[in-house]
Symmetry: C2
Subunit: 365 residues, 2 copies
Amino acid sequence: MPEQFHIVPEAAHNALIAAAYRHRGFHADEAADGARFCAEAARHGIRTHNGIKALHLDHLFGSGSRGCVPGARIEEIPSRFAAAKIWNANKKLGPSTAYRAMDEAMRLADQYGVGTVSVDNAFHYLWGGGYVMDAAKKGYLAYTNCTAALAEVVPFGGKFPTLGTNPHSWGFPTTDAIGYPIIIDWATSVVAMGRVQQLKREGKPLPPLAAVDQDGQPTTDPHRAVSLLPFGAHKGYGLSLINELVGGFVGGSLPTIRNRWDRAEGDKGTCVFFFQVIHPDAINGGAFAKGRDQKQNVKAVLADILGHGNSGAMLPGQLEAGWARHTATAGGLLFSAAEIAAFNELATEAGQPLWDAAAFRTVTI
Amino acid sequence: MPEQFHIVPEAAHNALIAAAYRHRGFHADEAADGARFCAEAARHGIRTHNGIKALHLDHLFGSGSRGCVPGARIEEIPSRFAAAKIWNANKKLGPSTAYRAMDEAMRLADQYGVGTVSVDNAFHYLWGGGYVMDAAKKGYLAYTNCTAALAEVVPFGGKFPTLGTNPHSWGFPTTDAIGYPIIIDWATSVVAMGRVQQLKREGKPLPPLAAVDQDGQPTTDPHRAVSLLPFGAHKGYGLSLINELVGGFVGGSLPTIRNRWDRAEGDKGTCVFFFQVIHPDAINGGAFAKGRDQKQNVKAVLADILGHGNSGAMLPGQLEAGWARHTATAGGLLFSAAEIAAFNELATEAGQPLWDAAAFRTVTI
């Protein structure tokens, strides 16, 4: 169903988000990183992780709790390995940490072909797709995973939530081939807890095998749902476990105390990030069929996958690229009336002038 | 339901498998690699990819077709990147190629922290879990993916099969923590085509959303099923796409002509392998809670995940470790009567003495 959006100049959006971060004590460079990240989320239609969510999460788990420390400095842990860096983020703002880590992984990939950056004591980076998209637009194959804030997901065959919604994000440099980077980016639960709450408000059922009740039994009733299930049974469970394992090897402690500061006393409640970048030349065998170069070959492979009557299939990242086109055409970031109202709550908190919704042009999409 | 197995001495099994490979023209070192791989599959209860399947696939797609060349030599493609190797396998036997590639990736990880080996013109490596398990037992975090032999899977939202069953395999060095390596290893389709054929024979329905009919409509009738669906809707589709993309960047051509040699004339019909190894020290932040070291920390994380009443949950790799214990206890590899008969077909083909099932001790599991 078409929806009306207000067209907010990107500079106005970024000024408000930066002011909101500074009001919470973040330094100017962190506030700028946060604003950059939130603009990218909005540009690509990531409405679940835009500026409103970013500052809400900061309140719940970040500078408003014990998960994030404004002005924190990242320390590099000494390592004997040239292509793999290890950082202690000291609870620095997630987007500031993640942009820096992905930049470093790209630098390592330029030098060694592949590079990893593992980050201990990290704070929520919101939308992993944004960081792999940045690297993919710059020409790299990029990957990130993280341990999600809270253990809300029940292991396959279990009853009690001991896993995060642990997302994975992959980005591929396909802009030359198809006009935008392929971004594969999702949580390992069927739905997010926010979706359970939304369906509860709307009186609608959950999809099957998305949540369990307090006895660990699957339920489609959002009023009875207390924990989430991984997607794809043992396969999604395995994917969620990967983030907990990588987290455990890097420095994360027990999933069930993560961001539960009342239980993490004398223990460790922080998240872990993992980033990896591969230079496309480092996997280029140079022997493509039909005289193609690497980009032409990837384009031909994708055309084959979406050919043969598969016009109903989409590529991951296609919706995000579509939103970026809407945004560019409109000449500003697109927000609903409800979102404008939420931004004005942030403006009030930060002592900034309110946005006048009526002053923005609108577009219906 | 308990099943009776014949206990076949590993040396007898390996001698038969090696003889069967040599009979097909493979060199002694390739035959030994093949026998080693098939023994590992049998040891860990991977009955879908044991020696019977290995030599059947070689007949269908390998030395019996145009997919595999006995005695082929692997060439290293020159690269400016120290931590990333690129090989042209020239259609060498899959296990020979994969063991060498994983060994090289471990060597790179020892030196740089992380290493990748991309392999063009590869032939079916059968069970990716076997190679990551080998690396995980040696102490590394390992990963592999490959493009599967045939395009049998329909992209999410599409109708025609243009993707392989494209598996992913991850191995984690958790033996010190829990007694065995965690091995996350599966195809990105809900089921394999072999399962469809099995259910057709048995007159049983397919699981929902596992296959489509000739019009691309989902069906649970194995008689109407012509193509497979990815698991987990767009999520499994994205995971399958990763293998095709990596394959396309390395050197693989169109998925729909892969191993279809009648259509690949003047084009390229081979598979691609990708291997990656990370040294655990290269992601060790060194700041584990409660004075734990890295292994103790991973153990504590896993205990938390399987605690809290989650005794019904298992870890990926647990079943394989259980089979390895059964095998060790029995003192030989375990095969059903039907499997013994299939091995005897290989013995007949290779001019080897037949196995006398009655001469083997048995065990019921």
